[in-house]
């Protein structure tokens, strides 16, 4: 049987210990331990969420701030381990969560392309081959040997986006990244995402821009306080979401 799903979430729960005081020293810890004052407040960021994402789907996640969108994405990409429940993903994942995480600002763009590439698990040979593509896409030819600390945030985002999308991953995770860069570059990014969608990549998008979700996504889930409020066709969910905000 061929598995049709790219991502399967089953009863996923994510709890955080919200200790009132942050204990960061041994002395404090033992004092509290002895006095039995180690209180934790359990905070449930994601509560019993289950859904499947089909292969080749473009899947949006909407919701207000703090509703568990980013936590859900982090669980899918394997950064966070859920407290309960299981996550299964099929295929390679390229996360575009907050671009530029793997950059060292003291290094030049050229060096950073190799560093960030290896953070995403690409081999040196692969980056050698794709180097020109990355530079062309980011349009940063003149600034390649300048330390990245002298770059503007838009320029950093260009390089980061170019590196992250140089492969065609099976699953692409996009978190609010299209907000940076000028409008021309934003168009370019959307074009690249669209071409990936045509290549049968599963795309998961989180965005506060409902228009963007409506334009790009086929299916959508609406999270509220860590729970699924609504799931289904992107336009219907977005409509309901927009109406609820009025």
């Amino acid at each position: 049987m061929i598995n049709e799903n790219a991502v399967e979430l089953r009863n996923v729960e994510m709890h955080f210990n919200m200790s009132k005081e942050k204990l960061e020293s041994l002395k404090e810890y033992f004092l509290k331990l002895v006095k039995r004052q180690l209180h934790y407040e359990d905070f449930v960021a994601v509560n019993d969420v289950s859904f499947d994402i089909k292969k080749g789907d473009v899947f949006g996640i909407v919701g207000l701030n703090g509703c568990g969108k980013s936590t859900t994405l982090k669980i899918i990409s394997g950064i966070l381990e859920p407290t309960k429940g299981t996550v299964k993903t099929y295929g390679t994942i390229a996360p575009l969560i907050e671009l530029g995480a793997g950059f060292d600002m003291d290094l030049t763009a050229r060096e950073n392309i190799y560093l960030n590439g290896s953070v995403l698990g690409y081999s040196k040979k692969f980056i050698d081959e794709k180097f020109q593509d990355i530079v062309d896409f980011s349009e940063m030819h003149e600034f390649l040997d300048v330390p990245m600390k002298n770059y503007s945030s838009g320029m950093v985002a260009r390089i980061a986006f170019a590196i992250a999308t140089v492969t065609t991953p099976d699953i692409l995770i996009v978190d609010e990244i299209l907000a940076v860069g000028d409008f021309l570059f934003q168009q370019k990014c959307e074009e690249r995402i669209n071409s990936m969608i045509n290549d049968d990549t599963t795309v998961i998008i989180v965005s506060h821009s409902i228009e963007q979700i409506e334009r790009l996504c086929k299916h959508c889930v609406w999270l509220e306080k860590g729970k699924i409020k609504m799931i289904g066709d992107a336009l219907e969910v977005c409509d309901a979401y927009k109406n609820s905000q009025r």
């Binding site: 598995n3 299964k88 295929g91 994942i93 995480a101 290094l107 060096e111 560093l115 590439g117």
Partner: protein, 267 residues
């Protein structure tokens, strides 16, 4: 291809996938360390030489420690010690300082302490150049057994990795370790025969016992025996060295493995 993102079973495929990252991180550290300094990488050789000059003046000339070829004696021990102290104290905060990365991308976390250990190993080889310079300067002919020197270095590396894994994981939960460790290192340094020979402890049985329990003592003595005294340690000494290294490594790796699941909640 089906892959369970959270399964530890893909340890080896992870390892293969992130080898280039390990290499790039080491070369990044190397570039950043020497960028914009005039002498650049020569500092890796000069630093141990200067330290050696200070120590031989203070302990060799003023406090008159009785060892033949004291400068060589010292720098050979110093090379191993410096490797240990540099690797462990830099990996101590390696997880914390990589927080930005760990929070955003999936990377096997042991990469970070391991990278610091490898970087220190590279530095160790530069220190060896200083060792050779001092030996030549003292007119000291290295013994033929010197060619076996990778053996204690491998033992020491495994040991260092174990300590580093443990420390980097523990520091995530208890930041105090960062401040405490400097003091600990000083104590440990004096409990290792680097600036004195073991013989001066023969009247202090308790101290001698503690010094002999210190794994680094064994690596230093092993290394020194090969380089200076034409002495190949026997099976017993090898078993002690390997046993301590593997034991500490296993403990470190286990603690790290248990702790790493919750790193992200604490950094």
């Amino acid at each position: 291809m089906s892959k369970d993102t959270l399964n530890k079973a893909n340890f080896f495929s992870d390892m293969k996938k992130f080898m280039p990252l390990l290499k790039n991180l080491v070369s990044k550290d190397f570039k950043i360390k020497y960028r914009r300094s005039v002498l650049g990488v020569a500092w890796s050789v000069l630093n141990p030489l200067f330290t050696m000059l200070v120590i031989t003046t203070v302990f060799g000339k003023l406090l008159k420690i009785e060892v033949d070829n004291f400068a060589t004696y010292y720098i050979v021990g110093f090379a191993i010690w410096n490797f240990f102290s540099e690797a462990t104290s830099s990996s101590l905060s390696s997880i914390l300082s990589s927080a930005a990365l760990i929070k955003k991308v999936y990377i096997p976390k042991y990469i970070f302490p391991l990278e610091k250990c490898l970087f220190s190993l590279v530095n160790f080889f530069f220190t060896l150049i200083a060792v050779v310079i001092v030996m030549l300067f003292q007119g000291f002919v290295p013994s033929i057994t010197t060619i076996l020197f990778p053996i204690p270095v491998i033992y020491c590396f495994v040991f260092v990795c174990g300590v580093s894994l443990f420390l980097s994981a523990a520091t995530v939960y208890f930041r105090d370790i960062q401040h405490l460790y400097g003091v600990l290192l000083t104590i440990l340094m004096y409990l290792t025969p680097i600036i004195y020979p073991l013989e001066i402890l023969k009247d202090y049985k308790l101290v001698l016992r503690i010094v002999e329990l210190n794994p680094i003592t064994h690596y230093v003595e092993y290394f020194r025996g090969l380089v200076m005294y034409n002495h190949i340690p026997g099976l017993k000494e090898n078993l002690i060295c390997a046993g301590m290294a593997i034991g500490v490594f296993l403990i470190g790796a286990l603690v790290f493995k248990k702790a790493q699941r919750k790193f992200i909640l604490h950094i």
